[in-house]
Symmetry: C2
Subunit: 344 residues, 2 copies
DNA sequence: TTGTAGGCGTTATCAA
DNA sequence: TTGATAACGCCTACAA
């Protein structure tokens, strides 16, 4: 006599038919009992449930999906997992789905259109209920297709097509918030050192910063936005330049935390104290980078995890029939730390 | 007359039966034609293929999986996606699978055992062909279960159970390599500043370092390993301590790149030049952190992406019947940069 | 070369 | 309250 209470590796999982047989009922009854249908005698239900537990029965989601027409599965198509911006979004989406009963199929296209369409095909063939497309750069990207059998939500990088639904970071608002904070800290000679000007996000942040300065009638220190690269080295170099041209600067809004770290280094090198002489605020709130800086770096957080969560919610709504469209901007959040303490 | 060449959203995807009807053949023939079976007339095959394309037919993977007993899907169960070590592993695995026709179901347990078992249940019910379990910390963790119907491979954090197959980083070898490199650079007064001593990896790296020193009969500068926290702040503090106690130190092996950044800062503060006076090597090779340092930081790379790739390969082999067991250690890799240039 | 029929595991409908 | 039975979409003997 063998006890079948523990499935061994290589052994086929128990089916509903196994459960029914062990419980001495028909397959139909077993199904009803396990799914909480009301048309089952309590005693029978108990017997079926016990049998299911004895066999470690777990219903075959494939068979279920085949009938239901839904798989409880969504595809997450990213362009660049290596980049650190996709991860929090993915995390937020996984969180929102995983707490329910939706599973996430992950694909990374590595920025390659061919790979992307290959993955798209695979996902559709797996009959995902919907798709989230996460871009690597916050610039608009080609629509993945307007005639797909499932709803699609774009996150971070918006679709070029206006009928697609895209969720993006409000970089303009983030830029405003950064400058607002510096103004609130009593600064009035504010410079902006930022990264690659070919990014839409770079322009948005800069424009937001300029707009906020304009509302107060405060001119930009240095006279112009210092565009460059997303590196610490550029942060250092730009700061040296800035100090020689506008030595009276009392605050710097850096376009990224990396740049901000460079700014901090260069200021220290020049004997300027932060935040007493110069306040510095970064962007991205890359925790480990910002919190480890000396002094700890104030920053603007893009709330990417929240972005992922909202993307999941929107996709869910779309799956249930309520499909939106257009570009939805989600707000940034100020995270003040030591580098912007109010001037004494 | 309607043309059905483009499926619209909300419209059910074409089935094999649709294709067969359009091509004027039976379902069986359509199936054979599309799957390259030989028992089909060339002209018929062409007709079927054209019909399939007209309808954008893509075979339902659920139905296929139901028959085949395999789903072409694996589960990736991570404990902590936020931590930056899971990502490269995930990336490597996704890469190895994605180039074939296997899709990855991603779950993040957030370090919570309840969530983990919930996700495990979901994955098994989706009939994944196998599982990769990625730990957050490189210490051994409880086996996810010895009686699962599918093979499991543990990556980064090994399973406590010796019959499970685990792939881990050779931290001991990494520690050796770091010290070997410093010795090769002509240093002889080498200190080791590292992080949380409760991590097995911390001990392994330290022991590796000591072992390598021992082979050359070189004593550890400072007399003992400086354990602390995985932070820049600890790197700075420990370095100050070290300089006051052992001012003649000429090299520091830091247990992480973050710590190494702190070491660099403190050395600069103390007027020591890197690498001329003191060579510094980190661990993790966190590109953006190491390459952005001044001078660029030499480091030990754990080859995590390769680890993920190998995990995928081992899982694949296991799915095909060749299941291994025990702990397999994968080598680290030295990445020399400017911070360890040979002493003049 | 083509078509018919059975079955994969589940749910839902309807009859008993 | 229970149990046959027909789907879901596909593949694969086997029959024509």
């Amino acid at each position: 006599m063998t006890t079948a209470s523990e499935p061994r590796p290589g052994q086929r999982p128990a089916t509903l038919s196994d459960v029914a047989r062990l419980a001495g009922v028909s397959i139909a009854t077993a199904s009803k009992a396990l799914n909480g249908r009301q048309q089952v005698r309590a005693e029978t239900r108990t017997r079926v449930i016990e049998a299911a537990e004895r066999l470690s029965f777990s219903p075959n989601a494939l068979a279920r999906g085949l009938i239901a027409g839904r798989t409880g599965t969504v595809g997450l198509l990213t362009s660049d997992l290596e980049g650190r911006f996709s991860i929090p979004i993915l995390l937020g989406a996984e969180d929102a789905f995983g707490s329910g009963s939706t599973s996430v199929l992950l694909c990374d296209a590595r920025g390659d259109a061919i790979r992307e369409s290959h993955h798209l095909r695979a996902l559709l063939s797996r009959r995902v209920d919907g798709l989230i497309v996460v871009g690597a750069r916050p610039d608009s990207r080609p629509s993945i297709g307007r005639a797909l059998p499932v709803p699609v939500v774009y996150a971070y990088a918006p679709s070029e097509h206006k009928d697609d639904l895209s969720l993006v970071v409000d970089n303009h608002g983030g830029g405003r918030a950064a400058v607002r904070h510096l103004l609130d800290c009593g600064r009035s000679r504010i410079a902006h050192i930022t990264g690659d000007p070919s990014y839409g996000a770079t322009q948005d942040r800069a424009n937001g910063a300029l707009a906020e300065l304009a509302t107060e009638g405060v001119p930009l220190a240095g006279g112009r936005v210092l565009f460059g690269a997303w590196s610490e080295a550029w942060g250092r170099g730009a700061t040296r330049m800035l100090l020689s041209q506008s030595p009276d600067v009392d605050a710097v809004f850096a376009g990224s935390d990396q740049i901000a770290r460079g700014v901090l280094d260069a200021l220290q090198e020049a004997g300027r104290s932060v935040p007493d002489d110069v306040a510095v605020i970064g962007f991205d709130n890359w925790e480990i980078f910002a919190a480890g800086a000396r002094p700890a770096l104030s920053s603007i957080d893009m709330n990417l995890q929240q972005l992922g969560r909202v993307a999941a919610q929107r996709l869910f709504a779309a799956i249930r029939g309520t499909m939106g469209s257009g570009v939805e901007k989600l707000p940034c959040r100020l995270v003040p730390r030591e580098s912007t303490a109010p001037a004494a």
